[in-house]
């Protein structure tokens, strides 16, 4: 089964690259005319599927199409040849309440649906009074569902393997692949940074680690969504870390923030800084993951884009070589960023739950001085 999946992925990659190359580098008269007519009709702000009117590829638009969220799951092909899966749209309007429909109704933004139309992947109403909250199952949400289901299936089946084969036999298959990762997160991330209380936080760290890891990997597949490079996703994970860190913060942690071990004269400066620090740490987490994953995708697309920028196939060996290099690097980054996010989360939690012996020492010194 693994072989078949791999084969499918390879076919998808090759066909995706191929169709993109052909339609972009050698646009037929037919497709060019079509593109022109489409643009004339819809008068879109960004170029449709990355092609400007003169047939030249707008690499920026292509890059953003790849890294941004979409209401379609675009597989391959451009214009009318595009193979894309319309995704369900869920919107909440302050006038009409909840509405459910398929994104297919927009015909890739060329048509409107009632009051609503799709502009720059944003559902807007023609009524200026109507405010639309977009809760659609977008490409990223879809991948989130898929990855969550995959993780659930994977780890419950591993859990079942422990139950059926017992703990006395050596792990097999998936179990033997994931067990070292699980023990790595438990021992080297959770235990090393949190200490004795790590057991309570290990499930959170494991979930964060594997959710980021699987989405980093899925994001590297050409048709995959750039979920971990989306700031909304990283925002939620960082917010969870923020909440968990602070609701578990002990007396020492809060003492350090509200009564920092500095002369009292510095309190007006130190306390706001310490409070700001509560938020900057998870904020950095959010930005780090988002920026790393997005940057990786932009570099890959830019390297492929060189072919279209110079409009020559001769540059392609350079593009392919560098893309390969960056892709290998991205494999490392995919694991590394999942590790870093989890590690820093563990460190923040560790700092919040640690016994601040030296802090108390400072406090008693201060008491003695007064």
């Amino acid at each position: 089964m693994g072989k078949r999946t791999l084969f499918l992925v390879v076919v998808l990659i090759i066909s995706g690259l191929f169709s993109g190359k052909i339609s972009a580098s050698e646009p037929t008269e037919h497709s060019r005319a079509e593109q022109d007519s489409i643009h004339a009709a819809s008068n879109h702000a960004p170029a449709e599927h990355g092609q400007t009117k003169n047939g030249k590829v707008d690499i920026t638009a292509v890059a953003f199409e790849h890294i941004l969220d979409s209401h379609y799951w675009h597989f391959w092909g451009e214009g009318h040849d595009a193979v894309a899966l319309p995704l369900p749209c869920i919107i909440y309007s302050n006038k009409a309440g909840f509405k459910f429909f398929s994104s297919g109704v927009f015909h890739h933004g060329h048509e409107s649906y009632g009051n609503y139309s799709l502009v720059n992947e944003e559902i807007v109403s023609s009524d200026p009074e109507e405010k639309v909250t977009d809760l659609s199952i977008t490409k990223n949400v879809m991948q989130l569902f898929i990855s969550a289901a995959l993780l659930f299936w994977l780890f419950t089946s591993i859990a079942k393997a422990y139950k059926t084969t017992g703990v006395t036999s050596a792990p097999k298959g998936k179990q033997s692949f994931f067990e070292p990762l699980i023990t790595f997160v438990r021992d080297d991330i959770a235990k090393d940074n949190i200490g004795a209380k790590s057991g309570k936080f290990t499930p959170y760290l494991l979930t964060v680690f594997f959710l980021i890891l699987i989405n980093n990997v899925l994001g590297m597949i050409p048709i995959g969504a750039n979920l971990t490079g989306n700031i909304a996703f990283t925002f939620v994970l960082a917010a969870c870390t923020l909440i968990i860190t602070n609701i578990n913060g002990n007396k020492g942690y809060w003492m350090h923030i509200l009564l920092p071990p500095v002369p009292k004269a510095l309190y007006p400066m130190m306390i706001p800084l310490e409070i700001l620090g509560i938020f900057t740490k998870p904020f950095a987490l959010m930005i780090r993951l988002f920026a790393n994953m997005t940057a990786g995708h932009i570099i890959v697309i830019s390297l492929i884009g060189l072919i279209f920028y110079f409009e020559t196939l001769w540059i392609s060996p350079v593009s392919v070589a560098f893309t390969l290099f960056i892709d290998v690097l991205e494999c490392l980054v995919a694991v590394l960023q999942a590790y870093i996010f989890t590690l820093l989360t563990a460190q923040f939690i560790g700092a919040a739950v640690a016994d601040h012996h030296h802090e108390e020492g400072h406090g008693s010194e201060e008491h003695a001085a007064h």
Partner: protein, 172 residues
């Protein structure tokens, strides 16, 4: 360029939809995985680690026990060896004693036999001598009788004899 700004803005603007879905899915995943995956997996791994530690500890214990057993065996073996040596020695001594006793017994028996043989020989010899003496006496008497008879057969001869005897007697 205008489009680029719009795209860049949407890059760093978190979409409310994705925030909602991510929160929902993430919390759900956290709860479900926590209950159905991490808990059994972590407890199973812990159980196995404890099992491995226990097995290692008991192996070490068994090794020590074996060592003790080995030294105990050694002691028993040495004891057995010394015992065997002692037994052998004893047996040898017993054998020597037996042989000696037999030798002494045999010698005394032979001495006794020799002594009795010697005694018998002496007795026989004495008996033979006595008989010989008796026969010699008898013979001597017979001879003497015969000689006397012949000597005293005539008067001359009786006169010669008296003269002879007179000669020897002399007159002292």
């Amino acid at each position: 360029m205008n489009s680029l700004f719009i795209l860049e803005a949407s890059l760093i603007k978190p979409g409310i939809g994705l925030i909602v879905w991510t929160s929902l899915v993430f919390i759900l995943l956290l709860v479900l995985l926590g209950k159905y995956a991490w808990k059994p997996i972590l407890s199973a791994i812990k159980e196995r680690e404890e099992g491995i530690n226990k097995a290692l500890a008991s192996a070490e214990e068994a090794k020590n026990e074996m060592k003790e057993l080995k030294s105990a065996n050694e002691i028993i073996l040495t004891q057995a060896r010394t015992e065997r040596d002692a037994m052998l020695k004893e047996a040898r001594e017993a054998k020597d004693a037996m042989i000696n006793e037999a030798k002494v017994k045999a010698k005394s028996e032979s001495d006794r036999i020799l002594a009795s043989a010697r005694e018998q020989i002496t007795n026989e010899k004495n008996a033979a001598i006595t008989e010989l003496k008796n026969q010699v006496a008898t013979l001597s008497i017979e001879i003497a009788e015969k000689i006397l008879k012949s000597e005293l057969s005539s008067d001359d001869k009786q006169k010669a004899l008296v003269s002879n005897l007179m000669k020897d007697v002399n007159l002292n």
